[in-house]
């Protein structure tokens, strides 16, 4: 993501000396730096501060020019995750999780399939490429408006089977109220801990095998302790005094479909670019060794697509975590079955003037995105410096 074809400037060249022109250069950059410092870091800090206050609970103070804000600690977060009155945020998080998983899998899968088909040297490749990528140029609002019409229960997609002699589709898409794979919200700490424990154990195990024993023992130990804690019912964490069922709302399927429609051309373009970058000799060599067409993909091509898949996953995950406009256009901001945290933030902060609660949702969103982006930025830039 960070680089195009990039050459870090050589520090030993003649421009190294700090001249008056260097001073001009820094002064030219300075306004952008200051503005970004305020608009990115300053505002993030403010959001975090707001999330620790009660701003908005008193309607008289909500829109005051100099609102009085009292410090309430983590109370807003506690309300979101364990509040008895605020239940929507928890379903929003679950919705976001399912949406993200299916959106990424669908977009990567369809994009890869299309790229492989086009890579086989078909006639009219330019035409197909244009057709598959054009939705990416559209606004999510346009896509949403169009797909809302496509997914009307009595029309659109549901009519298609009738044109090949099958009965009309019965699924109600966005208005569906069905929920599957439901689980108790109180299990979330245990499930999260188990996932983290599994990752730690995997890291520890691979460290053990590559003979970095010291660090491996730490990872294995912490992972094991976490797993034991989780399996014994996560003692020490009280979520809700009663079971609360949360699951996958089938209404999301239509939204996922539209999102995949819009973004899979993009992954196709990424995959096609890297497929074209694989030297033909590599595949030829595998064929000479007797590999079938499928085996060439399985053993030569797919392993080489790993890095681009990771990049695409991060970009798609980033888009998915902050998804807002598509759902707004397809289902409206108020429909709870398809809602996500970004929509709830809008409703709370900008319709209900509950700014502190909105800020707490914003911080949760930022933390989720940061866990995806920071390691990626870090490794990209470290690689660049090393080169």
């Amino acid at each position: 993501m960070i680089g195009g074809p990039e050459r870090p400037p050589d520090p030993s060249n003649a421009m190294r000396r700090f001249t008056r022109d260097h001073l001009t250069a820094v002064l030219m950059l300075l306004p952008s730096l200051v503005v970004l410092a305020v608009f990115v870091y300053g505002f993030i800090g403010q959001t975090f501060y707001f999330s620790l206050t009660d701003w908005g609970r008193d309607p008289a103070q909500a829109l005051a020019l100099r609102p009085e804000r009292a410090f309430v600690g983590l109370d807003n977060y506690a309300r979101l995750f364990t509040g008895v009155l605020e239940t929507r945020f928890r379903q929003d998080l679950v919705n976001l999780l399912f949406f993200t998983v299916f959106f990424i899998v669908g977009t990567l899968g369809l994009g890869l399939l299309l790229a492989i088909l086009l890579d086989r040297g078909v006639k009219g490749e330019g035409f197909f490429r244009t057709v598959f990528l054009y939705p990416f140029a559209l606004s999510f609002i346009v896509t949403g408006t169009v797909w809302r019409w496509m997914l009307q229960p009595q029309g659109g997609v549901n009519l298609l089977p009738t044109y090949v002699g099958l009965p009309q589709g019965q699924f109600t898409w966005i208005t569906s109220r069905e929920q599957i794979w439901s689980f108790d919200w109180n299990l979330v700490p245990s499930i999260t801990a188990l996932v983290v424990a599994a990752v730690l154990l995997m890291i520890g195990w691979s460290g053990w095998r590559s003979a970095r024993r010291g660090r491996a023992v730490t990872f294995l130990g912490v992972g094991l302790a976490l797993a034991v804690w989780a399996l014994s019912g996560a003692p020490g964490i009280e979520m809700l005094p009663f079971p609360e069922r949360r699951g996958f709302n089938l209404a999301l399927i239509g939204i996922i479909l539209a999102a995949v429609w819009q973004m899979s051309g993009y992954t196709m373009a990424l995959y096609l670019a890297s497929l074209r970058g694989i030297p033909e000799e590599l595949r030829e060599a595998a064929r000479v060794d007797g590999a079938s067409g499928f085996q060439v993909y399985r053993h030569v091509v797919f392993p080489l697509l790993g890095p681009i898949t990771l990049s695409a996953m991060i970009i798609l995950g980033h888009i998915s975590l902050k998804i807002f406009d598509l759902i707004w256009a397809m289902a409206g901001p108020d429909l709870a079955t398809t809602s996500v945290p970004a929509l709830l933030l809008y409703l709370r902060a900008f319709r209900g003037n509950q700014f502190a609660e909105g800020a707490a949702i914003a911080v949760v969103l930022l933390l989720m995105v940061a866990t995806v982006i920071i390691p990626y930025l870090w490794s990209s830039l470290r690689g660049e410096v090393r080169r």
Binding site: G3, E6, V40, A137, G155
Partner: protein, 278 residues
Amino acid sequence: MMAALGRVRWSWRWLTYLLLLLATVFFLGPIYLVVVTALKEPAAIRLATAWHLPETWHWQSFAVAWEAFGPGLRNSLVLAVTATAISAMLGSLNGYVLSKWRFPGANIVFPLMLFGMFIPYQSILIPLFQFLRDIGLYGGLAGLILTHVVYGLPITTLIFRNFYAEIPDEMLEAGKIDGAGFFGLYARIVFPLSVSGFVVVVIWQFTQIWNEFLFAVTLTRRASAPITVALAQLAGGEAVRWNLPMAGAILAAIPTLIIYIILGRYFIKGLLAGSVKG
């Protein structure tokens, strides 16, 4: 043996084209439905006949939509053109500084700038709203332009920095010997070489800003709302017949689609610049 192999190849070919055809239907189907719906008389739009061609071609929907969405389209045009121009210009200067005038700390400053392009904008929305209200720019286009310029800086800076890294330092050295300073080198050497860099950045920024919704819906009042907000509001109302939102969707899509079809090559370049690791 050869014949059998030939047949296998042949059927693979068939399967490839069959799948491509299915994919084409999947990607173009929505366009077909939008166009026929926009061209039907409002009274003739029924769910059961959604896929049928219109019996009479009703072009007036576009006139009505033009009336309804004219202000939104105008706002979007002013917004996208202004914000794109300013952020491209600033990005070019920043990229020039960061690639050709390395200074101590540049390696720390650049990633800190880049982070701004990855944050979910929800995380700065509430202070931004408050800030714009305090300085009197909330609700109008000026505040939205400022917002898009600021949050466009990381990506425009990134693209230009990578673009200028390709210009050999020796060219600038030669210019220096001729007595050119910071601005002279930029005006005489760097800027004239920037045309395709500007094309990539302008396409990227224009498309992003034209299509953007979150800032638009939170920071503008009705009179200065861009097209995305106008379309979302109309489509949300149930009383409206479907020909109008469909015609509106077409109007909202046309500018970015034209850019994509005419300048697709640069569009893909920008897209890869924003996503592929060198």
